[in-house]
C-alpha cells in the first residue's frame, strides 16, 4: 500500500517509475513472456501462431502444465520439492482407464480412487520428509520411481498392456474432455486453480506460513507456525493436482498410459523457476508461476509455428531457464531490498 509509507518516522525514499516497476515481484517473467510472445508472433505469425488455434495451442499446454506447476511453485516457496508428479499423472490415468475402460466400474468411483491415490502419495512424501528430514528431492525422486514401476507392472499384469483405452467416460466427458473452438476445458480448470492458489498464497494465514516455512524454517517454527502441517498440505495439494491432470488426460484422450506424464516432473519445476520462484524457498508469486507456464507454452508451440525443427525445443527451454534464473536473482534482490536506504 502506498499510503503507509507516508506516516512512518523515516521519510520514504521516492523512486522513479522504472525502479518501481523493477521492484514488482513478477516483473521479470512478465517482460520475458511479452518479449517471447512478440518474437514468435513476428517469426511464426504468418504460419498461424497468432491465430485462435495457435493461441489455444499454447494456452492448452500452459493449462495442463500449470495445474500442477502452481502447487509445485507453492511447495518450492515453502522450501520443498516434488519430483513424483509425473508418476502420479500416469498412475491416475491408468487407474481411471483400467477401472472404467477395462473393468467397467463407474467413472466416479475410479476418479475417486485416482484422487485418493494422489492424497496417499502426498501423505507418503510429506511423512518421509517431515519424519526423516531427508531432502524432498530424494524422497520424491524415490516415490516417483516406486509409483512409476508399480503402475506399469500392475497395468501389464491386469490388462496385458501399459496402454488401456477408455471409450466412454460418461458424465465426466464434458467436464474434462470438452472443447470450445480450439480451447480445451482444461483452460477453465487452470483458471480455477489460479484463483485458488492466488487466494491461498496472498490472502490467507496459510499463505503467510508458506513463505515463512521456506524463508526461515526455524523462525517459523519458533513463531508457532505448524511447519510440518504446511508441508503436508502442500504435498497433498501437489499430488492431487497431478492426479487431476491424469484423470483429465485419460478422459480427454480416451486412454490411459501408465508411463505417461514423466515430462511433467521437470516441466513444472522449470515453469515455476522461470516464473521467479526461488528454488531455496521463501520467494515467489502466483502471477509469476502462471507467466512461467505461459512462457513454456508459447515456446513449445511457437517453435512449431516457426517451421524450425522442434528438436531444438529442449535447447531453447534450457537456455531460457539459465537466463530466467539470472534475471530473477537480480529482480529479487531489488524487490527484497525495497525501502533500504541507498548508500
Amino acid at each position: 500500500m502506498q499510503t503507509t509509507t507516508a506516516d512512518t518516522p523515516v521519510p520514504a525514499t521516492r523512486y522513479g517509475v522504472l525502479e518501481r516497476l523493477l521492484r514488482i515481484v513478477w516483473i521479470g517473467p512478465a517482460i520475458a513472456a511479452l518479449v517471447i510472445y512478440i518474437f514468435f508472433v513476428i517469426v511464426g505469425g504468418a504460419s498461424g501462431f497468432f491465430s485462435v488455434p495457435g493461441t489455444a495451442g499454447w494456452l492448452n499446454t500452459a493449462a495442463e502444465l500449470g495445474i500442477i506447476a502452481l502447487p509445485i511453485g507453492l511447495l518450492m516457496i515453502a522450501g520443498e520439492f516434488d519430483l513424483s508428479t509425473g508418476s502420479v499423472v500416469g498412475a491416475a490415468a491408468i487407474i481411471v482407464a483400467l477401472g472404467t475402460g477395462f473393468y467397467g466400474l463407474p467413472i466416479e468411483l475410479t476418479m475417486s480412487m485416482a484422487l485418493a491415490m494422489g492424497v496417499a502419495v502426498g501423505c507418503f512424501n510429506a511423512f518421509l520428509v517431515n519424519a526423516t528430514r531427508l531432502p524432498s528431492f530424494i524422497v520424491t525422486l524415490a516415490s516417483n520411481f516406486i509409483l512409476a514401476g508399480t503402475s506399469l507392472g500392475l497395468s501389464r499384469l491386469i490388462s496385458g498392456s501399459s496402454n488401456v483405452s477408455l471409450k466412454d467416460a460418461g458424465w465426466a466427458e464434458p467436464i474434462f474432455g470438452s472443447k470450445w473452438m480450439f480451447f480445451n476445458v482444461s483452460v477453465l480448470w487452470y483458471l480455477v486453480a489460479i484463483v485458488l492458489a492466488a487466494w491461498v498464497l496472498k490472502q490467507t494465514r496459510f499463505g503467510n506460513w508458506i513463505f515463512a516455512t521456506g524463508g526461515n524454517v526455524d523462525a517459523a517454527r519458533r513463531a508457532g507456525v505448524p511447519v510440518a502441517r504446511v508441508k503436508l498440505i502442500l504435498f497433498i495439494w501437489t499430488a492431487v493436482s497431478a492426479a487431476f491432470v491424469g484423470i483429465m488426460s485419460a478422459v480427454m484422450y480416451n486412454q490411459g498410459n501408465a508411463a505417461q506424464g514423466q515430462g511433467y516432473v521437470f516441466q513444472t519445476a522449470i515453469a515455476a523457476v522461470i516464473g521467479g520462484v526461488l528454488l531455496q524457498g521463501g520467494f515467489g508469486s502466483v502471477i509469476g508461476i502462471v507467466l512461467g507456464t505461459f512462457i513454456y507454452g508459447i515456446v513449445s508451440l511457437g517453435l512449431f509455428y516457426t517451421g524450425w525443427p522442434t528438436d531444438w525445443l529442449a535447447t531453447f527451454i534450457g537456455g531460457l531457464l539459465v537466463i530466467a534464473v539470472l534475471t530473477n536473482n537480480f529482480v529479487r534482490e531489488l524487490a527484497l531490498n525495497r525501502g533500504k536506504k541507498k548508500p
Binding site: M1, V10, R205, N208, A212, N216, A219, V225, G339
Partner: protein, 267 residues
C-alpha cells in the same frame, strides 16, 4: 524501576540440570519482579544458557521449580513457555528475511478479517495488521524504513527491535534476551537498549544475558551472577559497581549463598 514490594512475575527455584554425568546447572535461582530488567551474567560455562533454555521450555530441568505469578508451571515445550507469557528473542533465529516487517511481527498469529464473509474465506486483515504493527513500533520508538518492506535489508539493531516488538504485540509479559547487542554497532546498541528500557512502560519484565558490563549497568535494575552452575549472588545495580560484579564472576569475590561457598571448597 523494579518493584520489589510486589510478588515476582517469574521465579526459578533451585533449578538443576544434568546431562548424563555432566552437571550443566547445579543450583540456580532467579527472581524477576514486575517491570524489572534483570541482567544474568557469568563466565562461559557458568550455566547461563542452560538456565535460559529451561526458562524458554527448550530444555527440561532435572530438579527445581519454575513459578509464574505465584503458580508453579511445567515448561515441556517452547510453546508452553510462550503460553505462560515468556518470549525468548534469539539473535539469528528470530525473523524471516524474505518477509516484510509487519508480516514478521504477526507471523504465526495473523489476524483474520472482521468481515464475516471474508472471515469465512479465511482472509487476513492486512490493513489492520499494518496499523497495529506500526502502533507497537511507534510505542517502542522503533525506527524502520517501512513496515511493508522485507527485513532482509534492515540492520541488526532494527531486526532485534522488531523481534522485541513482536513479543510485546503478542502480549508477552516476560522477555528473555540472549546477547541482544553482541553483533551491533554503537548507535544500534543504543537503539536496542532504549527499546528494552521502554518495555517497562508496557508492563513487560526482561531477563537479559550479556557480557557487556557497562551496558548491563545502564539498562538493568538488578544483576544475578552465576558461577559453576550456581547462582551465587544478586546485586542491585544502584548499590554495586562493575568491579564487584566482575569479581563475583571470576571468583575473586566469594558469592553469597552457603552452597556457592561449598562449591568453592570442593573445587
Amino acid at each position: 524501576m523494579g518493584n520489589a514490594a510486589a510478588a515476582p512475575v517469574l521465579e526459578a527455584r533451585n533449578i538443576a540440570r544434568h546431562f548424563g554425568a555432566v552437571t550443566a546447572l547445579a543450583d540456580a535461582s532467579l527472581q524477576l519482579y514486575p517491570r524489572e530488567v534483570v541482567g544474568l551474567v557469568g563466565d562461559n560455562g557458568a550455566g547461563k544458557s542452560t538456565l535460559l533454555k529451561i526458562l524458554s521450555g527448550i530444555v527440561a530441568p532435572s530438579a527445581g521449580e519454575i513459578v509464574i505469578d505465584g503458580r508453579p508451571v511445567v515448561l515441556k515445550r517452547a510453546q508452553d513457555a510462550m503460553d505462560a507469557g515468556i518470549e525468548t528473542v534469539y539473535q539469528d533465529l528470530a525473523l524471516v528475511d524474505t518477509m516484510s516487517a509487519y508480516q514478521n511481527v504477526y507471523l504465526g498469529r495473523e489476524e483474520l478479517s472482521a468481515n464475516p464473509l471474508k472471515r469465512f474465506f479465511n482472509l487476513v486483515d492486512d490493513r489492520r495488521m499494518r496499523e497495529r504493527a506500526r502502533e507497537v513500533l511507534d510505542a517502542l520508538q522503533v525506527k524502520i524504513p517501512s513496515i511493508n518492506v522485507s527485513v532482509k535489508g534492515m540492520s541488526g539493531g532494527q531486526r532485534q527491535c522488531l523481534a522485541i516488538a513482536r513479543a510485546l504485540l503478542w502480549g508477552r509479559r516476560i522477555v528473555i534476551l540472549d546477547e541482544p547487542t553482541a553483533a551491533l554497532g554503537v548507535r544500534e546498541t543504543g537503539q536496542v537498549l532504549e527499546v528494552i528500557r521502554d518495555l517497562r512502560k508496557h508492563d513487560v519484565s526482561v531477563i537479559i544475558v550479556s557480557h557487556n558490563m557497562q551496558q548491563l549497568m545502564s539498562v538493568a535494575d538488578r544483576i544475578t551472577v552465576m558461577r559453576l552452575g550456581r547462582s551465587i549472588a544478586t546485586r542491585t545495580v544502584k548499590d554495586t559497581e562493575v568491579n564487584e560484579i566482575v569479581g563475583l564472576i571470576t571468583g575473586a569475590i566469594p558469592g553469597d549463598s552457603p552452597e556457592a561457598r561449598a562449591a568453592e571448597v570442593a573445587a
